[in-house]
């Protein structure tokens, strides 16, 4: 069953078309990768789906309900959680408190929110960091905290925006394990934007490729990686011409 359906989504910023007639669907339990060169419109697509930006045209159906016109806090309450590429924390909240904010979506009780936050932090092996301020942590830990916070809201679908960006190989391994854990063990459907190819290609069931706001390819990771359109988008037309033999 499709958990998320996007039909002909278009988003204009003034004269710039950031998303151009994009359609795709995402099944319950799937792990979908979203890739594309810088400026392809990936984050904009996330912002439209989660309700942070109003769409110019098109429809978004989530769990059978039309959420096209809903605001970000309304989509969140229906089970659509997300992380942000650039996380700016003023530093007032500790790690545990930060996760509690997510948990407060499900409960009014501070004690319950705290207990749930502790559970999640233990599950993601972040319990040693509970009392630190988020702003004191290195980037890799901050990324894991943002995931823990999003999980606090107990989502059906988790949108991850470049959680591996700027991390070293061993940290990428760690974050990959967490993504797999969230998807495989916790049963959360995941859609992720990622530039780190070894991560996307390894974990995704399916990959969508955007370029200049348009969907140019969709399919299994191995197939998409060989698609000439995709290679052209990343490496340029000349590369495809010159390496035509190898690519076959």
């Amino acid at each position: 069953m499709a958990l998320l359906e996007v039909h002909n989504l278009t988003k204009d910023f003034g004269g710039l078309r950031a998303n151009d007639n994009i359609s795709f669907s995402l099944d319950q339990g799937e792990l979908l990768g979203l890739i594309g060169p810088n400026g392809a419109g990936k984050t904009t697509l996330f912002n439209c789906v989660s309700g942070l930006h109003p769409v110019t045209s098109g429809r978004i159906i989530f769990a059978g309900e039309d959420i096209t016109r809903l605001k970000a806090h309304e989509t969140a309450r229906r089970g659509l959680a997300r992380t942000f590429q650039v996380y700016v924390a003023s530093g007032d909240l500790s790690v545990e408190e930060n996760v509690m904010v997510g948990c407060f979506m499900q409960t009014r009780s501070p004690a319950q929110a705290r207990a749930r936050a502790k559970e999640i932090l233990t599950d993601l092996k972040l319990n040693d960091l509970s009392d630190y301020l988020v702003s004191e942590l290195p980037a890799s830990a901050q990324k894991r905290v943002t995931m823990a916070t999003a999980l606090g809201s107990d989502p059906k679908l988790l949108l991850l925006d470049e959680v591996a960006a700027g991390l070293n190989p061993s940290e990428i391994e760690e974050i990959m394990a967490i993504i797999k854990h969230v998807h495989d063990d916790l049963g959360v459907t995941v859609m992720l934007i990622e530039h780190v190819m070894e991560l996307v290609m390894k974990v995704s069931d399916r990959v969508i490729v955007l370029d200049y706001g348009q969907k140019i390819a969709e399919g299994e990771p191995a197939t998409v990686a060989k698609d000439p359109m995709v290679i052209k988008a990343y490496l340029g037309e000349r590369y495809v011409r010159e390496h035509a033999e190898e690519l076959k």
């Binding site: 989660s50 942070l52 605001k71 970000a72 806090h73 969140a76 309450r77 959680a81 997300r82 942000f84 996380y87 700016v88 924390a89 003023s90 007032d92 909240l93 408190e97 930060n98 509690m100 904010v101 997510g102 407060f104 979506m105 409960t107 009014r108 009780s109 501070p110 004690a111 929110a113 916070t149 999003a150 606090g152 809201s153």
Partner: protein, 335 residues
């Protein structure tokens, strides 16, 4: 039950803090029994009133990070509601005070709804503007005494009058405002750990993240603004009975709004004790400076210079004020 437990739960503070708080609380309770001048008594009452204004400001301005420079308009609504109702219809304080709070909160919804579409400096400027407009209206509105203001004449009543809050001795006023002061602390102690408190702190951190966690940012700000307003309006009603002579010029002035915000920021915005520390530093400074300068007329205005220096120091050294410095030192020790 859990909410009630949270009201009295201060366990996240280190023991040394609780000892200091206990000693200060004890001092406040026994202060009127110690030898003191009437000037010291008046200063203490001002301290308690401004602590309460600061606690109210701190909910939206400190925890929520929405710098509000228009709190005096709500002080005015509270003060004038109580004064008008007492003088015209002989309505006691305990009835007019909640009505004043209701009127102030209603007004806060009316202006909060559009103003919270604005952020940062624009919001701060807009709160100044609405406060000044309301003051100008009160200054030409005969029903509330226009620019001459209103005077509650104590001769008409027989003090001590606990219903109308008319007393001859300041000690009565002191214990009443001290009661509100303790209730205020308990309320903010509950607030900071409540869902709304966490939501506000998340909004201050990053509004987009807050939205993506299911928080209706606009509504959370309006609700908290109403809480802050209730504090200020309540003390405004008390102010009318205590001062007995109120004019728009001194109950609704911009100076007052700025002083409220400044105190909370100096003590530590977004912390439970911050506004009290701020009031404890600034109110004695202000009243003793005024007394001392009264003899040296040429130096009038030096208090404004001192405020300016404080603003510069806060923004340059530690934006989270005196409490921020204390916490910083503690973190360094722990690390």
């Amino acid at each position: 039950m859990e909410a009630l437990r949270n009201v009295f739960d201060f366990s996240d503070f280190p023991r040394i803090d609780l000892v200091v708080v206990g000693m200060v609380a004890l001092f406040l309770v026994v202060f009127p029994l110690l030898p003191h001048s009437s000037f010291a008594m008046a200063t203490m009452i001002q301290f308690l009133m401004f602590s309460l204004y600061g606690m109210g400001w701190n909910t939206i301005g400190g925890y929520g990070g929405q710098v509000d420079l228009g709190k005096a308009q709500y002080l005015g609504i509270g003060a004038f509601t109580t004064a008008v109702m007492l003088i015209r219809w002989d309505v006691p304080f305990w009835v007019s005070m909640p009505i004043g709070v209701a009127l102030a909160v209603t007004w806060s919804f009316i202006i909060g709804y559009p103003l919270f579409r604005l952020t940062g400096h624009y919001f701060a400027i807009a709160t100044i503007a609405t406060s000044l407009v309301l003051k100008d209206i009160f200054e030409v509105w005969d029903f509330v005494g226009a620019a001459r203001g209103l005077e509650i004449s104590p001769i008409k009543y027989s003090p001590p009058d606990f219903l109308r809050l008319i007393f001859k001795e300041d000690i009565y006023y002191y214990y009443i405002i001290l009661g509100f002061f303790f209730l205020g602390i308990l309320y903010v102690n509950w607030f900071r750990k409540s869902r709304l408190g966490f939501q506000l702190r998340s909004i201050k951190d990053n509004e987009e993240v807050a939205q993506s966690l299911g928080i209706n940012v606009h509504w959370a700000k309006i609700k908290t603004y109403a809480i802050a307003t209730a504090f200020v309006s309540l003390v405004g009603s008390f102010h009318a009975c205590y001062i007995k002579n109120i004019e728009p010029e001194d109950t609704m002035s911009l100076d007052l709004s700025i002083l409220i915000a400044l105190m909370a920021m100096l003590g530590g915005a977004g912390s439970l004790w911050g506004p009290i520390i701020g009031a404890g530093v600034l109110i004695p400074l202000k009243s003793y400076l005024k007394e001392w300068l009264g003899a040296k007329a040429g130096l009038v205005g030096i208090d404004l210079i001192i405020y300016a220096v404080i603003i510069m120091l806060i923004s340059a050294v530690e934006p989270r004020g005196i409490w921020g410095i204390i916490e910083k030192i503690r973190r360094r020790k722990r690390a």
